[in-house]
Amino acid sequence: MKVPMTEYLEIDLDRELWMCRVCNHEVGPARQPYKEGLLVYVRDPREIHAPILDPKRYEFTFAPDAKWVQILEFYCPSCATMIEVEYLPPGHPPVVDMEFDIDALKEQWKDRKPLNAAELAGPDMAGRAHHHHSNKQKAQQQGRG
């Protein structure tokens, strides 16, 4: 059983592995931080959030201050999908952001069925998906994910 944990990562419960959902690359052991199996690029934040006001004239330009923050981009080594980004002060250790109890996860998923795209996305906030929906609407909703 593979359990999706983010847009791009899933955990293969049988093999206890983090996997890339885009290319099925084996990222690393599920009991370890997934980031350890990825490529990392340290980016000057101004390359993404470019100054909109003239940086020669002004101190604040809509662009972040690169001395205070850098972007860590985490890529899948196989398909290069950007799995996570992190904004941190220079030199701050990356955060171990997801540490799940794999045994508990196995137990939890023992009787669960794999989720379809609509179940992964979740229902619309305003709509009461479980009431008043025609089959056609349901089908559309599932197709959308």
């Binding site: 959030h49 006001l53 809509f62 205070w68 972007i71 290069a80 955060v95 229902p123």
Partner: protein
């Protein structure tokens, strides 16, 4: 003293002493027993009996719906009749509370976290004023309150609280809370970022009785009016809130008349107990484990510095624990600190609005969730520490929690909302004050704060300028209506700037420009209170980027409104063009962080800010190229950003997409990612430092070692390293003194250069 009779002799002395101490408390400050507890109160004997007697779930649901309709009705009334700009645009709420004080029903519209916190003052009133012979709680009484330390976000919000009786017995409470604005603080408008002590923050009302026999007590009203800049507003809104609470009382009494008191008591209590049980059931389905994040708040509103908000969210069994230890210490002379209960109110709002909006709007929803913070940290500040701008730390804490929740929820089969990237989290708006064209002294704010950009969702882009993070239904107001009462205009309003976008597979909803000027007053000024000018305050999710950072821009020293008359073609109608082209000769153009203390604005000078964008979702290379073209068509992004960020290839003139070339461009970018990306181990070796960079003012723990808390360096004050169990509040120097020291140093340098 009757209860001291018949006590065994050995206990008698101890009892006497504690009775004496209880009778002789010199000051009834906030009670930690009340303030630290956000669980629902234990079921009372009366509730137990009522629940035994009335338990038909269909009838109880009917009564709850009836009372919910009463809340919604009073919300509408308050919004229509309230005089505060906050009331007009939805920054208010009404609610019904159980006899113990728990919020049982909140109005569907409005700012839920206000109501989530009113249970504290009600519990204080019950505990201290019920038996107090000089106060008491009687039918027709009403209590007022605004001090966050007794349960509120900050003291610009005022609550009126009315006990509801049936045949002499307290059966419920009605509450109405409004963001009133003006509160007599050191700056006009109720959110004084210049406050360095709690005494600079204006009215600090502990809960007290201001209504008897359903009448406002004129002497107390006069005292309150005399303490604020808007005496008429103070009076009018107290009257309106009283009237609204009376309507709630009427609705509760009507329900009692129709269904009996047991059913009403049972309905309120059952709603709470069921909500708590339902949340525990839902949490059970989340994966067991820990999710962590770090958000950097980049200032106190007086100065830029890195204020760390650290969150470890742990789910075990049916409990969720939010551990914020390691976050920044409190700032002893800045007002960006949060009282623990305010933080909890904001987090409660996250779960009720973004996670389980289908649940009843009551406080039990947050009961199974625990919150841990270091003592004297910015998220659990002490009694003497100012908190008027608590949003500057509890909004980032909300965002940290929103990010963590998404990582728990993605793979969870039972969801009640879409997976979503963080909502924009800053109140980007003008606070204003001064003398109006009608000669009135006023101080308040624009409702533009309610137009925050929505976060991108798992299957679609975020919405532009849609709603504040603290209310699902609020309005951004009508500037034309404001102009009848206040002397300033928004020359540009609700205009979207290109590239104010959090990029991603789905982009965040964007914010809009606001360019304000004084038109008709000889004494008028503005304030702005937001962080995020150096480091973005709103991150993305699952590879999506954050929002940009946001400056305050000013044009001073010219009357641009005169230029509009004499040389209209000179006028540019966007922040970018005004700042980059500098069309007004002789003007001074400048940018600043968004913590502007109250400052006078002469006629025709310009103050310019931008509403913020919600976070992006997913990898930019996965963005549907057609959506990029749509963004170009709608002028949401520039050609430059479309190519640089999204790697799309198209004809610039016709916007016709070249799909094959786009696919190739993206393949090429993926290849260069692989080339420039470094294996984690190698990156870790190069990147990680043992301590924060020496020249960055950093507040909080470094990495995941939460036992040491760093503070500084700042403006010549060296960095400190404190034990997390013994944090001391940080004193920041006056920014003017910092500036003077800088200038003196430069002067010395210049003089030295001249001599040599």
């Amino acid at each position: 003293m009757g209860k001291l009779e018949n006590i065994p002799e050995e206990n008698r002395e101890r009892e006497l002493i504690s009775q004496f101490l209880a009778d002789n408390v010199l000051f009834l400050g906030p009670d930690p027993e009340i303030m630290e507890n956000h669980d629902i109160s234990p079921r009372t004997e009366a509730e137990h009996k009522a629940m035994e007697r009335s338990k038909d779930p269909a009838v109880l649901a009917l009564v709850r719906d009836r009372l919910q309709a009463g809340c919604n009705e009073t919300f509408e009334m308050l919004e229509q009749m309230g005089a505060a700009p906050g009331a007009k645009w939805g920054d208010l709420i009404t609610g019904i509370f159980t006899p113990s004080g728990d919020l049982a029903l909140g109005s569907t519209g409005g700012v839920l976290l206000f109501a989530c916190l009113v249970h504290h003052p009600i519990k204080f009133i019950k505990k201290y004023w019920e038996k107090e012979p000089t106060v008491g709680i009687r039918e027709g009484d009403g209590f007022i309150h605004n001090d966050a330390r007794y349960g509120n976000i900050h003291n610009t919000d005022q609550s009126l609280i009315l006990p509801i009786f049936h045949e002499g017995k307290l059966i419920a409470w009605a509450g109405a809370t409004v963001h009133e604005g003006e509160n007599g603080a050191i700056e006009p408008g109720g959110m004084p970022s210049a406050a360095e002590q709690v005494y600079d923050e204006g009215l600090k009302m502990s809960p007290f009785k201001v209504v008897e026999n359903y009448e406002l007590k004129k002497d107390l009203v006069t005292y309150l009016q005399n303490s604020v800049r808007e005496p008429k507003l103070q009076y009018e809104d107290m009257k309106v809130k009283l009237f609204v609470c009376r309507r709630l009382e009427q609705r509760v009494k009507a329900a009692i008349a129709e269904f009996g008191p047991d059913t009403v008591i049972s309905a309120l209590r059952r709603g709470l107990e069921d909500s708590k049980a339902e949340v525990q059931r839902r949490l059970e389905a989340w994966p067991k484990g820990k999710v962590r994040t770090v958000i950097m708040a980049d200032g106190t509103l007086r100065e830029n510095c890195l204020i760390k908000i650290q969150l470890e969210m742990e789910k075990k069994g049916n409990e969720l624990i939010l551990d914020f230890r390691g976050s920044s210490p409190e700032f002893a002379n800045r007002c960006n600190n949060t009282v623990l209960s305010s933080l909890k109110g904001m987090l409660c709002q996250l779960f009720l609005m973004f996670v389980w909006p289908d649940l009843p709007r009551n406080q039990a929803v947050f009961a199974p969730i625990r919150v841990i913070c270091d003592q004297k940290s910015a998220l659990r500040s002490s009694y003497t520490t100012p908190n008027a701008e608590s949003m500057m730390t509890f909004f980032p804490a909300f965002t940290a929690a929103q990010l963590c929740v998404a990582k728990f929820l993605y793979g969870c089969p039972s969801k009640f909302t879409k997976v979503i990237a963080p909502w924009h989290n800053m109140i980007r708006t003008f606070i204003w004050g001064g003398l109006t064209q009608h000669g009135d002294m006023v101080g308040n704010l624009c409702a533009d704060l309610n137009g925050m950009g929505g976060g991108a969702r798992v299957d679609r882009d975020g919405e532009h300028g849609v709603a504040p993070i603290f209310a699902s239904m609020a309005d951004t107001g009508e500037q034309e209506l404001n102009e009848e009462e206040v002397p300033f205009i928004q020359i540009v309003s609700k205009k979207i700037m290109k590239d104010n976008q959090a990029f991603g597979k789905y982009r965040g909803g964007q914010g809009y420009e606001m360019i304000a000027s004084n038109l008709k007053s000889n004494m008028w000024g503005f304030m702005v209170c937001c962080i995020g000018s150096k480091v973005s305050c709103t991150p993305g999710l699952f590879g999506g980027y954050s929002s940009p950072t946001y400056p305050l821009c000013k044009v001073k020293g010219v009357d641009t409104l005169e230029i509009m008359k004499s040389d209209p073609q000179k006028w540019e109608f966007s922040i970018v063009d005004i700042m980059n082209k500098q069309p007004f000769e002789g003007a001074k153009y400048s940018t600043h962080h968004m913590g502007l203390q109250f400052e006078l604005c002469n006629r025709g000078e310009l103050y310019m800010i931008m509403q913020g964008s919600g976070g992006g979702y997913g990898d930019v290379l996965e963005r549907d190229p057609d959506l990029v073209i749509k963004d170009l068509e709608e002028s949401l992004i520039s050609h430059e950003a479309a190519r640089r960020i999204y790697h799309v290839v198209y004809n610039t003139d016709t916007l016709v997409l070249d799909r094959e070339a786009t696919r190739k461009a993206r393949e090429a970018e993926r290849a260069s990612r692989k080339k420039r990306g470094v294996p984690y181990k190698e990156f870790h070796k190069q990147w990680v430092r043992a301590e924060p960079p020496a020249d960055v003012p950093f507040y909080g723990c470094w990495g995941d070692d939460r036992s040491n808390i760093y503070a500084g360096p700042f403006a010549g004050v060296p960095r400190r390293k404190m034990d997390a169990s013994a944090i001391e509040g940080i004193f920041m120097p006056n920014p003017r003194d910092v500036r003077i020291a800088e200038l003196e140093a430069r002067l010395k340098e210049c003089e030295g250069a001249k001599r040599s």
